[in-house]
Amino acid sequence: MDGAVLHLGSGKPRMSRDNASAANGVASADERARKPLIKLDKLSKHYGNHTVLDGVDLEVMPGEVLAIIGPSGSGKSTLLRCINYLEPPDGGHVTIGDISLNAAAPAGRSELSTLRRSVGMVFQSFNLFPHMTVLRNVSLAQERVLGRSRRSADERSMQLLSRVGLADKAQQFPGRCSGGQQQRIAIARALALDPDVMLFDEPTSALDPELGLEVLAVMRELAETGMTMIVVTHEMSFAENVSDTVMIMADGKIIEKGPSADVMRNPQEERTKRFLRAVHDR
């Protein structure tokens, strides 16, 4: 499957890399964009004796699209899940906008709720709620978390569903939708809280290449609107063409991070070279 993805990636029109970097250039000239939106300090996570995250420092600027790549078990997904505290980190700090959480102290409920409101997350396995219509899936959190009325939540949901091209599926149940459609609905659901940043945990890994493509198209459009995104992915074409920054992880550490063209075409670290070679040889 990976081979097919690569082939697909190289055949893709290369429009957005330049667009994205141009847009990003404008954004970084903006004063407020100088302050990172997300800042991780010495973030660590252990399972027993096994160290999954080994003091990760990371800054992500507003509007930046960061792709995280690396071998399995390198801690990419755990890093993502620590950012919104789906897995509470064991040490370090997570700062998103005005919220700052210290992993050493237990997080309060209101802090966690604010954190999760400002972070949208998309999972590898979609995790839509199968017992609700597509519309309810997108509306539920707006009603329960943002306190919107059913009507205004549904209105907003329909906008979001149109944006991912699935307004006609609103009254269906997720089980009737293809994997690609489900993942697009999941993106709409995550966007429904108007998050400051969107996290994607291997959003196309459970999809065949064709369906993955429609999800990547939605993600690319989202990136072009200036959404801050952190994407754990095995889609090298996305890392190279859509993201602004690429970061390689291995063994719970950041091996290399930089502008995507530099890292993907001219990696400095031996570990990065080895990983990219392995990917391209497939």
């Binding site: 999760r116 972070v119 997350m121 995790n127 709620f129 329960r144 978390v145 995550a190």
Partner: protein, 220 residues
């Protein structure tokens, strides 16, 4: 051996009023017992140690002790502590406890059978724990649990026959009464048995129908 038609028509009013009591005890035991089972399931899954231990105690006693023993304990045992209950109340409490204990395990297993990603997605979109339970986990979990809960309801209906030991005038008691008045024990009990079956067998058919449909979200 078989009751004659005259006997049947003479017994039927008594037997039917016994059946009505059996059904009332069943309904109340389930109405109280299943929500109690839900609470016990949540208690067993709770993070708080005290809640967990208390819930486990109630579940293990309720499951560990035969329903007959629970009945006897509540009806004959509790009065020694100063609490005297009517046989109807005692029957409902004992069977509701029994129901709660068993259904808590059914509900707990169903909740745990829901893919972990569902809870994660609920948390990630900012739902608090109660909302995650109410909107995401319970609707799915109860759907999984439904066939087993219905099957258990049939068992509880049959279990009400134990209440004849605490002088509740339910179906078996009535059949016994008829037997001791007429010495026609076997025909009277046979008639009672047919009445039990006339409820249990259609109910079992409903359960198997529900079982086939459960879990098919997309077909609604």
């Amino acid at each position: 051996m078989l009751p004659s038609l005259e006997e049947l028509s003479a017994w039927l009013p008594d037997l039917l009023s016994g059946l009505s009591i059996s059904l009332q005890v069943t309904a109340l035991s389930l109405l109280i017992g299943i929500p109690f089972g839900l609470l016990l399931a949540l208690g067993v899954l709770a993070k708080s140690r005290l809640t967990k231990i208390l819930a486990l105690f109630l579940v293990e006693v309720g499951r560990g002790a035969p329903a007959l023993v629970l009945l006897q304990f509540i009806y004959f045992g509790l009065p020694t502590t100063g609490l005297t209950l009517g046989s109807f109340t005692a029957a409902v409490i004992a069977l509701a406890w029994n129901t709660g204990a068993y259904t808590s395990e059914i509900i707990r297993a169903s909740l745990q059978s829901i893919p972990h990603g569902q809870r994660e997605a609920a948390v990630a979109i900012g739902l608090n724990r109660l909302d995650a339970l109410r909107y995401v986990l319970l609707p799915q979990g109860l759907r999984v649990a439904l066939p087993a809960l219905l099957a258990f309801s049939i068992l509880i209906f049959q279990g009400t026959s134990l209440c004849f030991t605490i002088a509740l005038p339910e179906l078996v008691s009535r059949a016994y009464e008829i037997g001791s008045n007429t010495f026609r024990y076997f025909p009277a009990l046979l008639a009672a048995g047919v009445l039990y079956a006339s409820i249990s067998i259609p109910a079992a058919l409903v359960v198997s129908h529900v079982e086939k449909r459960a879990g098919s979200y997309a077909q609604r």
